[in-house]
Amino acid sequence: MKKVVTFFQNHWEKIVALIAVILLVISVVVFVCAKKSGEVAGDALAVGMGKAVGSFEGIKDASENYEAGKEEGLGAKDTEAEFASEIRKISKLQVLVAGVKVENFHKQNSTNPFSKDKLAYASLTVQEGQAVFTVDLTKMHIKENLTTINVKIPEPECEVYIDNATSEVIGTYERTLFNGTTENGLKGAENSEKEMREKINEKVKKNSDLHNQAKERALAQVTEMLNSVNTTGKTIDVTFIEEKGDE
């Protein structure tokens, strides 16, 4: 013991210096690892702390924020305005009308905890409509020479109209239990109607037979109509506008 005390008495500066150097080394290591350690510690605490702080502040300011929201809500800022009606004078010659019958087999699922079969409702509906091909006469171009009146018209365009008043439900299936909600049924039916209309438009407009027939009729009918009011005695020659540049 005496030796140890003597040793410390004789070498205390060296011991202090050694401890100081060791501390310095540790400090350097800590400094180097500080960034990573901070990240790890931060990550670990982030979620909990964030939720805790957020919850605390949210609850603390709840009353004040509720009042602010109430003011905002009662401010009737959610007000939309749009034109509900529109009147357009047009000049389109109908050249072909195709009667259309649409059969829609509609199915809708709903949650069923006791079975994999989720079908809650199915229906078969039939509606009537018409696909109307028209030539827009406002886009017609006329040039004449000594003997001929050259008329260029756009190709017929098709529009499909569905008469909802003809809608007839042929049959329905309805699950007895777990058959969903009225609101979901309403939304499902509304979206079905939108999809059905899009599909019909797409299919009918792509029907090349109908389109070709409409083109033939367009040339014949426009020629006939213009001949009826032609006082010049010149020949009328009707063709389609070929390129966009012709328009």
């Binding site: 500066e13 202090v16 210096a17 100081a20 150097v21 501390l23 310095l24 400090s27 400094f31 500080a34 960034k35 350690s37 990240e39 510690a41 990550d43 605490l45 979620v47 702390m49 509900a84 009606s85 529109e86 009147i87 357009r88 004078k89 000049s91 389109k92 109908q94 050249v95 072909l96 195709a98 009667g99 259309v100 019958k101 649409v102 509609h106 199915k107 809708q108 699922n109 949650t111 989720k118 809650a120 509906t125 009537e128 006469l137 006329i142 909802n164 008043a165 329905t172 969903g180 009225t182 979901n184 049924g185 499902g188 509304e190 079905s192 109607e193 999809e195 599909k199 009011v229 010049t232």
Partner: protein
């Protein structure tokens, strides 16, 4: 004397060494202290920065995972499908001139008070008014450069309507409705809406008057365009 001097020199060396050791120790201690303080600050900053990023990343990721899972579940449980068959029932050539297109919005309610259901719908309707050019009569007087066109009065030829639910509340205690009830409700609104639109378009005299004006302009323009070279051409359009 020499030995004494040597002893003094040796003591001086020891003092210098001790001083150097002491200075090293002090510098090391100060450096350690500064490094510790700086490390703390760096660690804190890293922790803050990293935690923010991690927090946001984890929150978004977890949210997206939940969203995807529940969307899949919801889609599967409420899947709606349609099989649409289109039949062309007739094709006929037509010679009607569309002269007016009207788009109008009506509102209908299909409430069911017994079941505590309130349902209001917006009906967007379109009406097309046409003149039947098949029945047109043309009188051309080259001598007086006049063209008279007699056509039937415009009539409402096409109506179409799209129904959209704008407000729905099921205020029943048990909420014992069904998908079928909702579907029937929409079907009812479709038919009711179509009839309201037809009634509106077929009885509004203003639309017929505007359609006549439009038809007169459209037919006159047609005659003038074909007879561009005819001087002082007079065109009259009559409706019968």
């Amino acid at each position: 004397m020499s030995d004494k001097k040597e002893i003094v020199t040796t003591d001086s060396k020891k003092v210098i060494i001790r001083m150097i050791i002491f200075i090293v120790a002090v510098i090391a201690l100060v450096a350690s202290f500064i490094l510790f303080i700086t490390s703390g600050s760096v660690a804190l900053n890293s922790a803050i920065k990293s935690s923010e990023e991690t927090f946001l990343f984890e929150k978004e990721k977890t949210y997206e995972d939940f969203k995807e899972t529940f969307m899949e579940l919801g889609e599967n449980n409420h899947h709606v499908s349609n099989r649409v068959d289109i039949d062309i029932t007739s094709i006929k050539t037509d010679n009607r001139l569309q002269v007016l297109e009207v788009i109008n919005t009506e509102y209908i309610n299909c409430d069911e008070p017994d079941e505590k259901i309130t349902a209001w719908f917006e009906v967007k309707g379109k009406g097309i008014y046409t003149v039947n050019m098949e029945a047109a009569e043309y009188i051309i007087d080259n001598r007086h450069s006049t063209v008279s066109v007699r056509v039937p009065k415009p009539e409402l030829a096409i109506t179409d309507s799209v129904v959209e639910n704008k407000f729905f509340v099921d205020d029943s205690i048990l909420k014992n409705g069904s998908v079928a009830k909702g579907s029937r409700l929409y079907e009812e609104a479709k038919v009711k809406g179509a009839n309201v639109i037809k009634e509106e378009f077929s009885t509004n005299t203003d639309y017929y008057e505007i359609a006549e004006e439009s038809a007169e302009i459209a037919i006159s323009n047609l005659v003038y365009e074909v007879n561009q070279g005819v001087k002082d051409l007079k065109v009259t359009v009559e409706f019968y």
